[in-house]
Amino acid sequence: MRIVAYVVRRILQGALVMLVLSIVVFVTIRLTGNPVAGLLQGLSPTKQAIAHLEHALGLDRPLYVQYAAYMWQAVRGNLGQSYSMQVPVTTLIWSRFPATLELALAAIVESILIAVPLGTYAALHRGSTGDLAVRGASLIGISFPNFWLGIMLVLVFSVTWRIFPASGDAGLLSLVLPATTLGLILAGVEMRLVRASVLEVVPQDYVRTARAKGSPPARVLTTHILRNALLSIVTFTGLQFAGLLGGVVIIEDIFAWPGLGQIGLTAVEQRDYPLVQGIVLFFAALLVLVNLLTDLSYLLIDPRIRFE
């Protein structure tokens, strides 16, 4: 029962965050210029044409009326029509979201595959040359500008060696470079965290007990050390999601990956306000959801945790 109450409270909190966000997004976009002026750029329209278009799009109404109308539709799953593509925004979002999700998940999996073994090794051999190498590598990883890493990977693997395609989405091969760009940088941050959490667990009594009773080292590592270090690793991966989404936008642009970030950037360039608004809100909802799932995953990992 407590869990249900907790989840309900978290969803309400998430809704509050979304409400504030929607206002901020709405006001920012409206404050920074008249969308109609942007739409008709270079067409030298008459005053009547502008007024007509404004009326047709409902932009001649007071801001709070526009906002209320938008939100009234938004909560029913209607985010309006895209100005530039004349398609419902939700249709566009759902058609592009799978590609973005695929890229983000691939990056997370890749980063975990790199970070967990290396971080664990570094922690278990603290102070060794390997440990210093891992620490150095992770620091280099977090210092990489993601767009530069992407370009360098293209330079080496597409331009020089022609192994992987430089752009587009044509099967698994084209996923490799964008996912690796994001994954390597994420791994840099994660390695430090894995190392730190394993270091905290290793001196615990239960690890000593397990070793003393003669458990094989591999078993001590998996069931005692890693299982307990997992909690902070999961929390952290959840927290990284916001940063990951930011990276996805830029990486999708570099690799012409047909995801949400790419149409987001195009929408920004074309001043397609309903689409920009829809995508920003969708990303925010995604973050709220991921944060909630992260918290709930604690229950599975550590049964001692109880929510109040």
Binding site: T28, I29, L132, S143, F147, I151, P203, G247
Partner: protein, 297 residues
Amino acid sequence: MAQPAVSPAPAAPAAPNRTHRLRRWLSASVLIGGVVVAVVVVIAALSGLLAPNPNALSLGATLAPPFFQAGAAAGAPLGTDYLGRNVLSLIIAGTPISLEIGLLATTCAATLGTALGLLSGYAGGWVDDVVMRLVDVQLAFPFILMALTFMAVSGPGLAKLIVILILSGWVTYARVVRGETLRLRELLFVESARAVGAPRRRILARHILPNVLPSVLVLAPIDVANNILLSAALTFIGLGIDPSIPSWGGLLANGRIYLNTSWWIATFPGLAIMVTVFGFNLLGDGLRDALDPRSRT
């Protein structure tokens, strides 16, 4: 949290020479990070002398490769771009603006975040609630997209870029300072200050602020690194610094077009960003381990 330095029988007896090596590595990281940062600062300060005329065109030597490849142009060790501009000069000319953005945005974000964190932690009640809800909203914010929207609609510009970096950066400071303040306000010396009737402003300024400052200072170099990265990323997609001002992100964006034929134009500015950011990160990392014994390595 285990503290082998204090407890006589440490649970994890790390070999003494290993701990020693680790400590040496950390002081080395402060040293190396400090040297890298110092070099970048000197280059930025002397950029007017080192690269007096970065936009000088040399149409006879366009797209010349760097010095170690055949066909390199004299005086352009890192090659030239499509207008024959010297890539090394452009990188040097782009140094001050990167540093200015990084330092200015960090200083403002740290000041704002520290003030809000102190207030939130010490006052508690509704002030705390409001600040913490702001933090929540900020953390659930698809920030890059929002920054993109804002910059795209209002056009690129230095001041706007810095404001955006401040808005994204203050949260970390506010959370850390609030946590520290919550801890400090219950300690005896703060209580005695309260008991003798010191006003709240004085307690915050004289007793709490000096004690939270080390945590703030430790966060700052890493924040500078992040701000340099974020501003370069926004400039790279054409929404940060005005393209007419030489900047690392802008150079990289130009170089990307010539990637198939002239790899050096995109490669070296990126390297400049990476080395600078690495220097700040290394410095921050070493400082944190030296100043904050709780984040043991």
